[in-house]
Symmetry: D2
């Protein structure tokens, strides 16, 4: 393992772009279904064998349906189609693992948890194509090593702390999709996309929220709710940041043409928006092109040996620890690279970038102990994942 | 349009992680199929109506098959499954657009172009679920504006120039998948993944190349070819860079266990590796977690109004121009943000980061003219895309 | 229209083969789903336009799942897959007909009505491929004729009355799948196949009934229930016929090898038995190779113009009327042939075979009036179909 | 085994309905694909293990596409979709049987053999869902018995000889789809449906033949070809029978409305006609509602133990032998019923109906020896099936 570090002067970009695809967005839905299938499989394997067996269900596709929404009502004309894809150990000795039944159950349950107005039975076709894992990887996986071996050469990337804009984007969606948000604004659906654009001290928050057509009797009510939501988000913004924040909601609306963002179910998936795993939020919940990001999807990967998933979590933890435990460091980015076949506690490289007054040498030395500390606990990370204590999308 | 810029001191990270998934990798295959379907649709629309109509076929899923490869032979036991997904205008007046036939033809043709040993007829199941585009977007799309309107609020990100490590990763794969590479090493398949890791002055290039089992009579020949490929790549490396480059090829091989990276068809998709659009290379052909990246998949998006695609290209062009036309600027990153419903020539924000001795003000002023120049030609970008003059994955 | 007839002497075969696939058999499930989709579509079209529009959803496929059943429990390991197939008018002006949503709803509802222990959500994948009807047929269909035109050249076949063996087979299944049957024998599932074989005066009734594993604690209880069911069916037989009836239940059981006909859900579809429309019972509810049969599936065909469906019903009606209204005729078979493009009231041929003392001439003359009478009411037959007053499978 | 027989007076119906769905009809295409997959599997199993292992691939569905045909050209707008369904032994020890690859290859090869103008690559989506056979049946199947055991309680039905009308229908299609027919009338496609209706001495032969649009430059040529085909068929008819035969070809054509039966590919499947296995011709190649028929599909069933397939063939053989070897018998129908778990040479019942001057007793006695003779060779029937010496659809 090579541990490197570098110090940087604080020299923040004058501009920020930050996006979050809310829990009802087609891409996030795919992330969530894949991840929850991985959790279900993991729990099943543990129950049956005492350990988590190989699986990698990190692909899924959602084909948008067709719908017609109008003030006061609406109908889904053509269902959404979802297919879960991946590999998993499908036999334990003579016993068949009920992957298909599990997949269907996970999808139906999660769609019910995610949406209030989507009926998984008549609005969604669910299929799956999940195959037996490849023999080599299975080999690695079942080995007697106490410490699992990396199943691929993959990246992990994390940074800490969030900027105001980042927190704002995350919290805006979280609020609107929270229990409280739903009780205050029931007509705001779950497919909420928030785009934050900061230019120097000014932030524009562009929110696209699929509204529930059956709960809005006319355009007047729609526009009133919009105003109220904007008010509420402005209030929230003033608590999060001192920046000057402007809120735009459903900006593509065009009252003169009768165009409003109405949906029957609360998601744009009902009318043609497609989705996939790993095309939306990074593990910290955001898309941040001016910040380090990895392309690895975390959702659906096994939590034992897939370093594309684990190192994403670990690099965030390292970054956070590096900053929180040392007042001389104001922010940090961490990059990790695994090596296929080596223990997950032994990455090929860990690189820490810190904004600090310290020297590069000092940062490096200081970081090393934190890296080691975090890596030591890496083999237990799966527990946090299974119990949902880690954000992944 | 807000154009911002910032100058930075040269302060390169001591570490680099760079990856490329070659043309035969399941993710890249999905990218290519989606993009080529977009090109086919675009050409069809042009032929029929004189212009490119709305489509967005930027989703696809590949479910890996099952195979058995041995030295001297092998067979595909279970075919690969591919589904193309998206939306497209499916009627021109009374005339139906033959999207399905087109999709099948594109897939078969492209698989034949990509692979020498994969038989699209017996090794692949091809399906598609492509729907009529949503009415609103279609509305925007068909408007009489000369300049198309952005169909979403999306990012574009680009940088210039490549580092040595980046060029090395790209060229290694390009060479092995070139006509010359194939004639020198016919047994090297098309699914080639290259991972470059630079630590200070030392680069480790880890190459995973699916070997064609039928062309290798035994492990001795396999190992000989490996040595030759490593030799050739070292030679290539010495031309690209003065860094110290170590090449590792098929590092997971384990001769004592009889494990070699053998495939029947030249791609890991034959035995369980799944793929999706937008999960692999960025538009410049690389995955670079220490460099700015966007999550937007470019493949399959329409080349007229989808700024997730266009701005990715334009930001690269701006970065290149900014550097190439000014000796005081050694490298640049460009970030763009579109605004739904506004002309594509009028982004919400363009932000230029330049490593330069110039002042931020000077960089900004200088960049502005280049940004405007590039944006002016934005409405013609589709031509470069259709004629394949732009790298997209 | 040519109406022919012929008298025959009573000369019954010394042997009978009669089969019924119960409501939970995979083929019958397909029949039922297709037919109920046709009914749903018909009702929708009527509600929207006042008339039934063209559709033909008379194909479906069921791919059996995988399950594990044991005394006291069981689980579905791999779901059943069902795909509905056909054509239907999918647009009324600008309005899209919600065929897909309707198809999903019909399948889920009907599976719930058919089975007590099958969970449509986690035990079944439901998909559909239903296309817009062909233009020609649509043309015929929408014409202003009061009397619909035949949409094909098809057969209809019917006979009357049932023999004792036929009634016995039908009633045995009907009883076991009746509310009373289920309350008396809750552990008898819905997939019940009855085969009647009469040799002279002796009938062997072979019943295969999928038993519900969770309701049977051990083989002893299983065998007790079997005895009770056999007793009950013998009782029923003695009411239906004076023939000597022997009952065999789940004859493939083999206690010494521990083989019993156990299912989790009540249908063999859970463990690999596949199904299709039109592969099981004829419209009278039976399969009778020694009696006239047509290959036309009735299920899923539109009830207005599809003579493959209508003439099957009408020929049965004619046969029944011919026999019931004339004491000199003890049994009759009726064959009808339509002509594409001609009114459904004007078949190409109607042929009546009657077992009678009357002359062929007399039978013909007598039959003609009945044929005409029945045909006159043909254009109203759809009402009986929609309201479920006609047996179709 | 109970062998029964009965003599009847010759008392032929005054009417006949006889249909044949030609080799390019969607139902026949499904039959052929399923059967050829069974043959491919059988040959594979033999090659690997010396014997045919359990499989039952007797379900398939074809979803019609969409096309536009015009004189001189045409295009397939939406491909045909085909899914093969069933069960088969998928592992021989550690070795996986390449069922999927085999299925794709069979479909592509057979479509090429069946059609001249259908391109399996761009006109057809091919999928399959074939599962591992159920354990019980596999048990029976692999037993050490020399004589296979019936895998179900099924019927077989056969009759001999054909009437003139029956031969006419069969030969009309056979001729038009023969090499010679295709060379004389290249523009006649492969989807040819022939319906024969005899009323006393008069036969109406209604032929629907999908014409190849690209080979016909205008309606004049189309009508000319029609006349020539009618002429040819009349000629053929006069060789087959002395009955008065009228030929109707593409009777739904309507020149004044510009309606002709044009197709791009030679099959109605291109524009919405769906298909399934077992919905068309019986094993003798015909649909004959006035003759004994079984509902069992023969196509796709394993040729070793599936009595639904075997007994259909055997009953035809018995009928033929009964007639051919005894001049006192002019025609015969044979019905067979198997018993699950019993040797295929020991049916539950064989019933022979003979039109004869002999007594019922004499017919019975005479038939018995033939039945036994034919049954003795039953275990070799699979060879005829594999080598294509038996008509099945």
């Amino acid at each position: 393992m090579i541990i490197n570090a570098k110090r940087y002067d604080k020299n923040e970009p004058s501009v920020e772009f930050v996006e979050r695809k809310g829990k009802g967005h087609p891409d996030t839905v795919c992330d969530n279904l894949s991840e929850k299938l991985s959790v279900a499989l993991s729990n099943y394997y543990i129950k049956k064998t005492g350990k988590i067996l190989h699986h990698n269900v990190d692909k899924a596709i959602l084909v948008g349906g067709q719908s017609r929404a109008w003030f006061g009502g609406g109908e889904v004309l053509e269902p959404i189609y979802i297919m879960l894809v991946g590999r998993a150990i499908s036999r334990l000795g003579d016993e068949v693992v009920p992957i298909g039944t599990m997949a269907l159950k996970v999808v139906k349950d999660e769609l019910r948890k995610t949406f209030r107005y989507l009926d998984p039975e008549s609005h969604v076709v669910v299929d799956y194509r999940i195959k037996q894992g490849s023999v080599d990887l299975v080999g690695n996986f079942n080995s007697e090593n106490e410490i699992p071996l990396s199943n691929d050469t993959s990246f992990g990337v994390g940074f800490y702390p969030f900027t105001d804009t980042e927190r704002l984007v995350l919290e805006a969606e979280n609020y609107l999709n929270s229990e409280r948000g739903k009780s205050e604004f029931p007509s705001v659906g779950e497919d909420i996309k928030v785009m934050g654009f900061r230019n120097e001290k000014k932030v524009t928050l562009t929110v696209a929220a699929a509204m529930i057509s059956s709960l809005l009797k006319d355009s007047r009510e729609y526009l009133e709710i919009k105003d109220q939501v904007i008010g509420k988000l402005s209030e929230l913004a003033s608590k999060v940041t001192e920046l000057d924040v402007q809120i735009k909601l459903n900006n593509a609306d065009n009252a003169s043409k009768g165009i409003y963002y109405l949906t029957v179910t609360g998601t744009s998936a009902e009318s043609g928006d497609d989705g996939q795993v790993g095309r939306g939020n990074r593990a910290n919940g955001l898309i941040t092109p001016l910040r380090p990001m990895t392309l690895e999807a975390t959702a659906g990967k096994n939590p034992i040996s897939h370093t594309g998933k684990l190192y994403t979590i670990l690099s965030q933890r390292i970054a956070q620890k590096v900053v929180e435990e040392n007042k001389k460091i104001s922010s940090a980015s961490v990059y990790m690279l695994s090596q296929i076949g080596k223990p997950i506690t032994d990455p090929q490289s860990v690189y820490v970038e810190a904004v600090s007054d310290m020297s590069t040498e000092a940062v490096k030395e200081y970081s090393q102990s934190i890296v080691k500390e975090v890596l030591e606990k890496a083999p237990q990370t799966w527990q946090d994942i299974l119990e949902g204590r880690v954000q992944l999308y």
